[in-house]
């Protein structure tokens, strides 16, 4: 396959950046999208130019590191991570436009690499159950109905890639935050801190500069792990409940 790439190049956070066009003549349909970028970078290196920097690690669709905005969609045309996107999803002669995630809370570091540490800070604000190592009850002393465990699991599968933010016209992080809030709100282990957790995480999300949610659902439609919009509804309920009742009830 012959592919034309228009890739966002930006030397560093201060640089203005812009698109650069590259030609690839020998792309195999079996390559993953990132392997196609490996080939591109080898070609660029041979010319003595700086390769395109992009984030990637496990290449199995689970670590959430890869983050390209491909033809106007986070992770490209399929509902999967960029590393699991293969060139057979494109046609010979295609032109593909590749940009970094665009969001105020995800500043560009270089080329296609962005800084997503805002997600870590949201989790640090309360995305946990406050138990220390040791001194916990036997695992089977907390029976959990299978249906609830499965639902909590569905929320817990979020990989923190940030596609939801990139897909959203407001760059809202509601899907990401709601997935973690939901997981712990559904499980008995999360009950003790249920109210404070949602309040703190939402406050941190706002402080990081993520936009508001207007329920268009692009986040869930683009989420490679198919995190459901129900999580956002649950987050809204949890937040309202927390705000409208006292912790001393």
């Amino acid at each position: 396959m012959k592919i034309t790439l228009k890739v966002w190049r930006q030397k560093n956070a201060q640089d203005k950046g812009g698109f650069k066009t590259y030609q690839l003549d020998d792309v195999s349909p079996d390559m993953s999208f990132l392997e196609m970028f490996d080939v591109l970078n080898e070609q660029i290196l041979k010319k003595g130019e700086d390769p395109v920097h992009f984030d990637h690690d496990c290449r199995e669709g689970i670590c959430g590191t890869c983050s390209m905005y491909i033809n106007g969609k986070p992770h490209g045309p399929k509902q999967t991570t960029t590393c699991q996107l293969h060139m057979r999803s494109f046609s010979d002669g295609d032109t593909i436009v590749v940009e970094p995630w665009r969001a105020q809370a995800f500043p560009v570091v270089k080329d296609l690499v962005v800084n997503r540490s805002s997600f870590d800070r949201v989790i640090q604000a309360g995305g946990y159950v406050s138990v220390n190592t040791g001194g916990v009850p036997d695992a089977n002393e907390i029976p959990i109905p299978k249906k609830i465990a499965d639902e909590a699991f569905d929320s817990a599968t979020c990989i923190g890639c940030g596609a939801c933010v990139a897909a959203c016209k407001n760059a809202s992080a509601m899907l990401f935050v709601s997935a973690k809030v939901s997981q712990l709100a559904m499980l008995p282990q999360g009950q003790v801190e249920r109210k404070t957790r949602v309040e703190k995480m939402v406050a941190q999300m706002d402080e990081e500069g993520f936009g508001a949610c207007s329920n268009t659902g692009a986040c869930s439609a683009e989420c490679p792990k198919e995190i459901s919009l129900e999580n956002i509804a649950r987050l809204n309920r949890e937040y309202l409940k927390a705000k409208s009742s006292s912790d001393n009830v």
Partner: protein, 644 residues
């Protein structure tokens, strides 16, 4: 050098309790006076850093990823073992211990392994308390499955994403300590040297991967939780960034490297599709519970399949060779990983492999679908089948999967004693980075167990014993030892940037991987290993003359990151070969063709090789010195493995 494993005296079931009582404790008010560095934030590193923070120590944690949640533990699929015996099927701590020693082909330490089995039960409790959503039965209790041929169901799992859920649990505990101010997190930071002061590990030098700044960090102890070195092979199931640099540079500062030749090759991975291949994807071993492995009986049929003239589904039963079921009637498709991998290699070497490369065998679910129905198979393996289809474009419900072995895990690593301390005072290694618990072969679902055992339940006790005997005084990063290490790191970076040769880092990495896979992979022999040694030496020389690393140090420079890692792989690869040469027996994942039974199975030589091979670095281009730690078995009787 005398290697002292410091295994406590007494009956095996009492060693750990006694040891916990005997170790010195640090007074709660004094813990804040001690600083601990943890490098790596996978299961072992994140759980250790969080637990240290909870105890009151000051922790600095480092990872090269952009977030601690992305460490490669996240990719583990199958599950985590624990001797809970929730299924009432005869499991016990002793049985898990016994299975692990046997599975490791009697090349691990009894004391360490028993402790691992003992604390395994606490891990599950801990993870559930954190909100890890393990699979459950309708009654609300935890579900288990049998894994990797174990005779009991002791594996806890969270669909095919157990590693992810456990890591997110440890990451949440770590995040809590970050917000409490007890852990300072350094992301996108790579450790490039260990700093020793008065013979003790007192800090590290890192490179900030965004700015290129070379930074010094001082502490009272350094814990390496930096994972394994499978990426020496270039193609492996490891993440692209997984590397051995931290461990290797510690090795060059005096830490012994143990059993480097013990690598695990996983039998069920998606085969290589072409030269562009950057990594291999594992398909969970649980697939072998229902899938049947076969190749055509006749070479001619394989050839037709490779050329696309024949579909596997059209090949009649009597022309198929279910070779695992044929050779191992009692274990069948569930033989251990090394046996399954080696047999796949043999049938492909005979020319009976399938797929265009000829390097693949079938894993067929047709019978299972016929027996249990498509819905049942979908329920068990749906996400794996989807993943397979996404990568290969084939539908495994309709045509058999193609699989081939790939490098997956490294049992070798830094030598540690019972306290998980290396031979360097104050330097610890935990998780896959150490060598201690899996012997020559790791059982399925035991990697997650070891990472969390070390991090949550072992090192929080043993590190106190060391710190309690240490003065509170901090070493300033202005100390000449830090300055020396910084300048050495800068010197290496400058050198790499100055060469401006003709070949990219990846080209060297691929070449090294090819040598390792060819001569130090599933099957090894003296002649091949000697050849590999010469070729690696030659390649390393070429690397330092002809590698091309562009850009500068003072920016995000992924070529420079890779160049440092590959430079270290080029040295570690040679040590792996050296160790494989020295160990002229077959054991576990290490198969020496010279040492096999009449039936072609691995044959140990217990009289000669019942020891841990720990290697000491002796300077650039000098041969490493071998130290032996004899293995003593008091509770498990050594037998030759047989899966017939």
């Amino acid at each position: 050098m005398k290697l002292d494993s410091k295994i406590p005296e007494g009956p095996i079931a009492e060693k750990w309790s006694k040891h916990k009582f005997n170790v010195k404790l640090v007074n709660p008010a004094n813990k804040r006076k001690y600083d601990i560095i943890v490098v790596g934030t996978g299961l072992a590193g994140a759980s250790a850093a969080a637990s240290f923070g909870e105890l009151g120590y000051n922790v600095k944690a480092f990872c090269f990823q952009d977030s601690p949640r992305r460490a490669h533990s996240i990719a583990a699929q199958g599950g985590i073992n624990a001797a809970k015996n929730y299924q009432n099927d005869g499991d016990s701590i002793f049985r898990l211990f016994y299975d692990t020693v046997k599975g490791g082909d009697y090349r691990s330490r009894e004391g360490n392994v028993y402790r691992l089995a003992e604390v395994s039960v606490d891990i599950i409790d801990q993870c559930v308390a954190q909100g890890v959503p393990f699979a459950r039965e309708y009654g609300g209790l935890l579900a288990n499955r049998s894994f990797g041929g174990a005779q009991v169901s002791r594996t806890f799992y969270a669909r095919g994403q157990t590693g992810q859920q456990l890591l997110l649990g440890a990451y949440s505990a770590l995040s809590r300590q970050v917000s409490n101010g007890k852990v300072k997190m350094y992301t996108r930071s790579e450790m490039l040297d260990l700093v020793m002061v008065d013979g003790k590990a007192r800090g590290i030098v890192t490179r900030n991967l965004i700015t290129g700044e070379i930074e010094s960090h001082s502490a009272h102890a350094v814990v390496l939780a930096t994972g394994g070195y499978g990426n020496v092979f270039y193609l492996s199931t490891n993440a692209m960034g997984s590397n051995a640099t931290a461990a290797w540079r510690a090795h060059k500062k005096g830490a012994l490297f143990a059993n480097p030749c013990y690598t695990q090759i996983h039998p069920t991975c998606i085969p290589v599709s072409g030269d562009h291949q950057s990594k291999l994807t594992l398909m969970s071993e649980s697939l072998r519970n229902d899938g049947r492995v076969w190749v055509p009986k006749d070479k001619a049929d394989s050839e037709k399949i490779r050329k696309g003239q024949l579909k596997p589904t059209d090949l009649p039963e009597d022309k198929r060779d279910y070779y695992l079921e044929r050779r191992y009637p009692s274990f069948g498709n569930l033989v251990p990983r090394d046996v399954a991998s080696r047999n796949a290699k043999y049938v492909c070497d005979e020319g009976r492999g399938v797929s265009t490369t000829g390097l693949a065998v079938y894993l067929d679910f047709a019978d299972a679908i016929k027996r249990d129905g498509r819905a049942a198979i979908e329920g068990k393996y749906g996400n794996l089948f989807d993943m397979y289809q996404q990568i290969t474009g084939d539908n495994p419900y309709e045509t058999p999967m193609k699989i081939y072995p790939a490098v997956h895990y490294t049992m070798g690593g830094l030598w540690v004693d019972y306290n998980l301390m290396t031979n360097v005072d104050g330097l610890y290694a935990i998780g896959e980075a150490n060598f201690s618990d899996h012997g020559a072969n790791r059982l399925g679902a035991s990697a997650l167990m070891q990472g969390l055992a070390d991090g949550y339940f072992v090192i929080p006790y043993t590190i106190g014993d060391y710190l309690a005997k240490m003065p509170y005084d901090k070493v300033s990063t202005d100390h000449e030892a830090f300055k020396e290490a910084e300048s050495r790191v800068k010197e290496i970076n400058d050198k790499l940037l100055r060469i401006k040769g003709n070949r990219t880092v990846d080209e060297f990495h691929k070449a090294l991987g090819h040598i390792m896979w060819e001569y130090c992979g599933m099957s090894r022999n003296e002649e091949g290993l000697k050849k590999a040694k010469t070729e690696i030496q030659k390649l390393r020389k070429e690397f330092w003359e002809d590698v091309n690393v562009l850009g500068t140090n003072e920016e995000l420079n992924q070529s420079l990151e890779k160049a440092n890692r590959v430079a270290d792989f080029l040295e570690l690869g040679e040590l792996m070969v050296e160790d494989a040469l020295n160990r002229s027996e077959s054991c576990g994942g290490h198969f020496r063709e010279e040492s096999q039974t009449e039936e072609g199975e691995a044959k140990r030589k217990d009289d000669e090789f019942s020891y841990v091979a720990a290697w000491e670095y002796k300077g650039p281009e000098a041969p490493e010195e071998l130290h032996k730690e004899d293995l003593v078995f008091e509770n498990v009787k050594l037998t030759q493995r047989s899966y017939k």
